[in-house]
């Protein structure tokens, strides 16, 4: 089995099927370490990424007015226990274009490995991008993942991201996303994480609502068990009339786990509004008792609540 096959046969761990990479209607890129082992583009999409000794580097551009019918699959990973993967990606969705990107990050045997993503994302006026990122880091907890992204959402554009790491061990994860939203733009950032063992999770997401009537939502769901730790920081600033933002963080802590949630809200205009809610604790008592009153044992009820929360 080739290294490529080793990686893509694990796509179901992040909710995708390997066969999708054989579909000629679907654009994809598979990056193994700093090598690009497979790629395909489709009309309206410029997928210009290159191998360098230190990183996979390049741009991905969805041309103006193009509506990509199928999601673009980006598959990154390492097939060895050790190693480093750097990705430097500039992603542009031009005016009135729309696309969906499914990014699969697979490190199935990592014991002392790193994955670093440095991305810029720009959405032109009226553009739309959904960026879903699913991670699987294997069972050993030996992965260090550092995704950083700087995102600008143009006038009337819509950006939605969804980061999930729900099976295997996290290892160390440090997300740092910053989003600027212009007039009538919308940014929705969701992160769902399950940490256990000695996992260490740090999520910092910042949304700056620069434009009139811009809107932002940061939603984080974290479940921690054993001795896992998480520090979640959600920042929303509203600078213009009609800007609306919300920060919503919920963490369930079990065993000896430890969690913190830091919502930071700033409002710089009298007609703007930012709200936040943060809750850390055990499973909600009323939810638990309701499910038990339907006959579920406590452990079944907790499993269902946690599964729902991270869905």
């Amino acid at each position: 089995m080739t290294e490529r096959d080793t990686l893509i046969r694990l796509l179901p761990m992040v909710g995708a099927e390997p066969e999708v990479l054989d579909d000629e209607r679907v654009a994809h890129l598979v990056g193994l370490g700093h090598r690009i082992v497979s790629r395909r583009s489709v009309p309206g999409l410029d997928l210009d990424l290159k191998e360098t000794p230190d990183a996979i580097v390049g741009t991905m551009i969805v041309r103006a007015g193009v509506q990509l019918a199928q999601p673009v699959h980006l598959c990154f990973g390492l097939a060895h226990p050790t190693g480093l993967q750097n990705i430097h990606l500039d992603l542009v969705v031009e005016e009135q274009a729309s696309a969906s990107v499914l990014s699969h990050c697979l490190f199935p045997v990592a014991r002392a490995a790193q994955h670093r993503m440095r991305a810029t994302v720009h959405l032109g006026p009226g553009a739309s991008l959904t960026y879903s990122e699913g991670h699987y880091h294997g069972p050993h907890g030996g992965m260090q993942v550092v995704p950083q992204a700087s995102i600008t959402v143009g006038k009337g554009a819509r950006y939605r991201s969804d980061f999930s790491l729900l099976s295997g061990s996290v290892g160390e994860l440090a997300i740092d996303y910053a989003v600027e939203v212009e007039e009538d733009g919308i940014a929705e950032l969701t992160a769902k994480l399950f940490g256990h063992g000695t996992d260490r999770i740090a999520v910092k997401e910042a949304v700056v609502l620069r434009g009139v009537r811009s809107r932002g939502l940061i939603k984080t769901r974290v479940v921690l068990a054993d001795e896992a730790r998480a520090e979640i920081t959600g920042i929303t600033e509203a600078h213009e009339r009609g800007a609306r933002g919300h920060v919503d963080c919920l963490e369930i802590v079990q065993g000896q786990a430890w969690a913190s949630a830091i919502p930071i809200v700033r409002v710089c205009h009298p007609d703007a509004k930012v709200t936040h809610e943060a809750a850390i604790g055990s499973v909600d008592k009323k939810e638990l008792e309701t499910l038990m009153a339907r006959g579920l044992a406590p452990e079944q009820a907790i499993e269902l609540i946690v599964r729902g929360l991270l869905r």
Binding site: R221, L250, D284, K285, K286, E287, E289, T290, L291, M292, A293, R294, G295, L296, A297, P298, Q300, A301, L304, I305, R307, G308, L309, L310, R311
Partner: protein, 242 residues
């Protein structure tokens, strides 16, 4: 004579020296709809939580025998497995759990589409929705009733099942309660709404943590409406209907 399905004897519950339930006695027969009326703060919901075994609700005295078994020693899920369940006055909301999943929890249950129709919700619109805060209070109440129906309990405790339901739809809630009885369930029906209470086979009035009257629904409703109470002379029963 057969034993009642539920027999509560001298049930007492106090918190920080304040007695909430005071030597309460009540019996419910199989397949009986028993309405429980009482002013705010009279102890109705406390009784429901005690019977279900919710955290923080442990009686300070008395016994509860359900289907011949001492209920008070059991955790919630074991009470549920015996055939007891509770529909909360303010039902919980669950992120990521669909109505279909909720109506097929841990039991054989019925067909979710059929259950939704029974509670007056369009299955096509609701079966794949989440049981979360996007549902209105009335919608959530109906789904809670459907969930209770699906469980086919021996005894369902319904705490204000028509709360948040518009007047035009109350008849649907009444039909659900009748459907519970028709499938063989008894119902302890906690309600403020006389229209709902009238469908009961029997009723009791709770005042200051004590059952002060048990009889036909019409008798108990009349006494409740007239603020007639042998225990408090109507002072505590002065339910504010405005």
């Amino acid at each position: 004579m057969a034993s009642p399905l539920l027999r509560i004897h001298n049930l007492t519950f106090a918190v920080e020296g304040r007695t909430i339930l005071d030597r309460l006695n009540l019996a419910i027969e199989p397949c009986e709809i028993h309405a429980l009326l009482g002013a705010n703060g009279s102890g109705k919901t406390t009784l429901a939580y005690l019977l279900m075994g919710c955290e923080g609700y442990r009686p300070t005295g008395g016994t509860v025998i359900f289907a011949g078994i001492d209920l008070l020693t059991l955790p919630i899920h074991e009470r549920a497995k015996l055939g007891l369940t509770l529909a909360w006055q303010e039902p919980a909301r669950f992120e990521g759990i669909t109505v279909r999943e909720y109506l097929t929890l841990g039991h054989a249950g019925g067909d979710p589409e059929w259950l939704l129709k029974l509670v007056g919700l369009d299955p096509d619109r609701y079966v794949d929705r989440l049981v979360d805060k996007t549902l209105s209070g009335g919608e959530r109440h109906r789904i809670e009733l459907a969930s209770v129906l699906a469980m086919k309990p021996k005894l369902a405790i319904l705490d204000e099942p028509a709360a948040g339901i518009d007047m035009l739809s109350i008849h649907q809630i009444i039909e659900v309660i009748r459907a519970l009885k028709a499938q063989g369930s008894a119902v302890l029906l906690i309600t403020h709404q006389e229209e709902v209470a009238t469908i009961a086979d029997a009723a009791s009035q709770l005042c200051n943590g004590h059952i002060v009257c048990t009889g036909s629904p019409s008798l108990v409703i009349e006494r409740f409406r007239g603020r007639t109470c042998v225990r408090c002379d109507g002072e505590a029963c002065g339910y504010d209907r405005t």
